[in-house]
Symmetry: C2
Subunit: 219 residues, 2 copies
């Protein structure tokens, strides 16, 4: 890379890189068990700089990142999760309920970094291009950025877990964000305790993976 | 990689890989200019296999892929795009309208591969886990998969363009998909004519990139 962040010539994505990229996809996990070691803030900012290389509709760059450092706010988010998780458990009976109750569904208590990712639904960047008939493209652009962050983090030894068992309105209130912002994901980041190639929910008997070929149609 | 698709030991994501991954993020583009050369169907299936390594809420794997091969259906989608694009142009005046009209916003006519990506909102996989308070997580899982596909494709020399200037209900009708399926993205894939590090909309004066540091808050 040159100093301005642009490679001086077209890179050669060779077989070795392609294989390691697949290893990255295989080893990327939703991490819920974190070591308490802090992640340097500069490393998080570097990851967010890479995240912003993600595509966005109309180049609107609607991603907004909220680093949640305050212990009281973090505690509030943990309570929102615990309430929502207790409610969710009521949807299941018998053995399913037992399995659900045994799952570890967030690493909020241990993760050194809490990062709330928002979509600025009121942004004027991009001037509306590409989202007239599909306004959800703005939120989707932020989801793509989270995916980019997930892979970049894992490539640098940092695990990410996406917590969706939350009431977004309550999180918004705790984080005191602008009214036009929509919560896309509340993320935990940190160094993982363990590494696996299989999803946690497969390993613990909730939902196995299905061969993708059954999800492909031709028309 | 071993034969069952699982690396035999934890990979070492070294500095060289990390740099090349950043090159991949830098060179990934929304491609709208394709060479007519066909992409072997086996290569597309390989890319979709890698795509399915993406995370999904509750491991629900709600991604559904529709390869649109039929010339009449493709023509129908192109007409939907052209109608929606003509409507969108009416939102702009003066110089903005001129710029909009000059932009190339899809490669639908040239791309050898049309791939509609859907979310199966009716799937029972995952048993609802993780999407009780944020049901949009199902669609977001599919968006993450598209992002994974985008990067995997580019690493293999294949460009991807996401077309969102479409009326989804009309696309659904043309593709004759199940009622519970929600269109997430209509994608063009093929070998790109040109390669750039800057977004097309930046290069053509629509919307420049903004430094991500202005999008980071602390709370």
């Amino acid at each position: 890379m040159s100093d301005n962040g642009t490679p001086s010539s077209k890179p050669d994505f060779d077989a070795r890189f392609q294989e390691t990229l697949e290893d990255l996809l295989v080893w990327r996990r939703d991490v819920r068990r974190f070591r308490p070691d802090p992640v340097p803030k500069e490393d998080i900012k570097e990851l967010l700089r890479m995240t912003a290389l993600s595509p966005s509709v109309g180049n609107a760059q609607p991603w907004r990142f909220v680093l949640v450092n305050d212990a009281k706010r973090r505690k509030g988010v943990i309570e929102i999760f615990e309430d929502a998780n207790a409610d969710a458990l009521k949807d299941y009976d018998g053995e399913r309920a037992e399995t659900y109750a045994s799952l570890k569904l967030s690493g909020l208590r241990d993760a050194p970094v809490h990062l709330a990712v928002y979509c600025d639904e009121g942004t004027e960047l991009g001037l509306g291009l590409g989202r007239r008939t599909m306004p959800e493209m703005l939120a989707y652009s932020v989801v793509g950025a989270v995916t980019t962050l997930w892979l970049a983090a894992r490539a640098h030894g940092i695990g990410l877990g996406w917590v969706s068992i939350l009431n977004p309105a309550k999180v918004d209130a705790i984080l005191d964000v602008p009214k036009d912002w929509k919560l896309i994901g509340y993320l935990c980041l940190g160094y993982p305790v363990e590494e696996h190639t299989d999803p946690e929910l497969e390993r613990h008997g909730w939902q196995p993976r299905v061969d993708v070929s059954s999800f492909i149609l031709e028309r």
